[in-house]
Amino acid sequence: MRALISAVYLFLYAPIALVVLFSFNAGRNASEFTAFSTVWYAKALGNTFLTTALANSLIVAFSSATLAAIFGTMAALGMQRLGGRMRTALDGLMAAAIVVPGVVIGIATLVALVEVFAFVNPVIAGIWPGDKPPQLGLGYGSIIAAHGLFSMALVAMIVKARIAGLGRDIVEASADLYATPWTTFHQIVLPQILPSVLAGFLLAFTFSFDDFIVAFFVAGSNTTLPIYVFASIRRGVTPEINAIATMVLVASLILILIARFLMREKKQKSPAVE
């Protein structure tokens, strides 16, 4: 039994460890480690295509996660006040945003946006006073919207679970003590749901930062880091990709550890409140 579980951990971590190890390899060869070196990191960070893709990824991840955290939390709070069919319908739509494969979300967004652009761009061109009318197209906006859709549903789910575990008595006590609804929200509800909102934000950020398939369809010319990595892999495995991969792993690891810490705190705190 012990041997088996050790084998599982080895299976899970050995490939990752190998990539990390060889990212520090001085040589090009993937099957022998010659000497320790950070030369591939320097190469990777000096590559402007890569740094542009990284910047794009950070912009997209930050924007979509922020929007998702705000609107997802609002939706979770609003859904608490809903009942009956409206709530079932909204629950279903949120679940659909999570369950529908990313590849379909990407395609559907692409198909719909291209139609919208084909309709709107001539209209803008018609009423635009200057020579060069702005052209709507795929890019940051479309990736942020598509990533935010899934993330918002995720945040709403996490925050909803937290609100459900909150206990109505403390909210009612606050109202009995003549606090306005806003004061109750600000002083009672918000501090308690904040860790789960932050955790949702970080998960959304991680998802967006790691997503390849949705962005692949709707990115237009705004290449994100996973798209860049994917393209590089297809050109051939190089130690530079190992260095990039290691940096991506470390970044998502840090984010996920913070998110877990925030979620953990909620579990330990809740009994103390009662």
């Binding site: 039994m1 012990r2 088996l4 579980i5 599982v8 299976f11 899970l12 490939p15 990752i16 190998l18 990539v19 993937a30 705000i70 997802g72 609002m74 939706a75 609003g78 859904m79 006040r81 909204l90 739509l93 949120m94 369950v99 529908v100 494969p101 590849v103 379909v104 979300i105 395609i107 559907a108 967004t109 198909v111 719909a112 946006l113 139609e115 919207a145 935010g148 859709l149 918002m152 996490i158 679970a161 991680t206 790691d210 390849f212 398939i213 692949f216 369809f217 996973p226 994917f230 495995v237 990709i241 190992n242 991969a245 991506v248 998502s252 690891l253 550890l257 998110a259 877990r260 979620m263």
Partner: protein
């Protein structure tokens, strides 16, 4: 005129929900309707879409039968293989592991799931590629082994990529299991094997169902693993979609395949939920 309490409350609820509802409509419902419309259209001569009302795209689905077969065979096969590895691991974590380290051990299982699937799959390209394992095998005299770009590599990638997602729900249902039931079974003279088969296994079925359903549904839309480890030989529906939309620009046919994929996902989901309800009540799975 001051608003009544109810009106005020409704106004607050509406404004809380408005952005989310708008977002869902503009970027989920409308795009899906657009795709449905596209799937009844025709490919424009230069690629893309031109309006029509035809079922030709759906009639043409058998042209991509290989992608459908690969997906419908390898996704459940991968999920079951995943289950075979995941169950003992979940059992160890929930029943045998030292409680002091349990949380840490469980965390170590989940962490890889939240790191980039692209990078983790790429790691296997590295290992299975000609300069990796086959090279080592060559050194000990076993030559010309081909590992990458085979169905086996895709299955391995699936098990590797989705193992954490399979372990977690099973772990959750095993962890909730009442230890006194196991003791009672032993007291009544049952051997460990019969206790496992008669008590533990049936009570963990909800977790097993959740795991298999989650992994299968995610695999139905998989793109990266078949692309990187199957090398264009083991195509999934996701790969066919990328090909049709981004390479051959046959949007109506692609839309028909995408609609079919969603229908398959819905069918699988419905079956899974039916079984899950039969097996037990609903269970929450904590993936984070």
């Amino acid at each position: 005129m001051p608003l009544t309490m109810t009106a005020k409350r409704n106004l607050v609820t509406t404004s809380l929900l408005a952005p989310a509802v708008l977002w869902l409509f503009i970027f989920l419902v409308l795009p899906f309707i657009a795709m449905l419309v596209f799937s009844f259209g025709e490919r424009a001569p230069a690629g893309g879409y031109q309006p029509a009302l035809t079922l030709a795209q759906y009639a043409n689905l058998p042209a991509r039968a290989a992608a459908f077969w690969n997906t419908l065979l390898l996704a459940p096969a991968g999920a079951l293989l995943c289950l075979l590895v995941a169950y003992p691991a979940a059992y160890y974590l929930a029943v045998k592991a030292n409680p002091r380290y349990r949380l840490l051990l469980v965390s170590l299982i989940v962490v890889p799931f939240w790191t980039s699937l692209l990078v983790r799959t790429y790691a296997w390209m590295y290992i299975l590629g000609s300069r990796g394992l086959p090279h080592l095998l060559d050194l000990i005299g076993i030559s010309d082994v081909r590992l990458l770009n085979t169905p086996g590599a895709v299955l391995l990638g699936i098990v590797y990529g989705y193992l954490p997602l399979m372990i977690m729900p099973i772990y959750v249902s095993l962890e909730k299991l009442d230890r006194r039931l196991l003791e009672a079974s032993a007291d009544l003279g049952a051997k460990p094997v019969s206790t496992f088969l008669g008590v533990t296994l049936p009570l963990s079925l909800p977790g097993v169902m959740t795991g298999v359903a989650l992994v299968t549904i995610l695999l139905l839309g998989e793109y990266l693993i078949p692309q990187l480890l199957g090398g264009g030989k083991v195509f999934f529906i996701g790969n066919a979609l990328v090909d049709l939309f981004l390479q051959s620009r046959n949007w109506p046919f692609g839309s028909a395949i995408a609609v079919t994929l969603v229908v398959i996902v819905v069918i699988v989901l419905t079956i899974a939920m039916r079984i899950a309800w039969k097996v037990s009540g609903s269970r929450q799975v904590d993936l984070v």
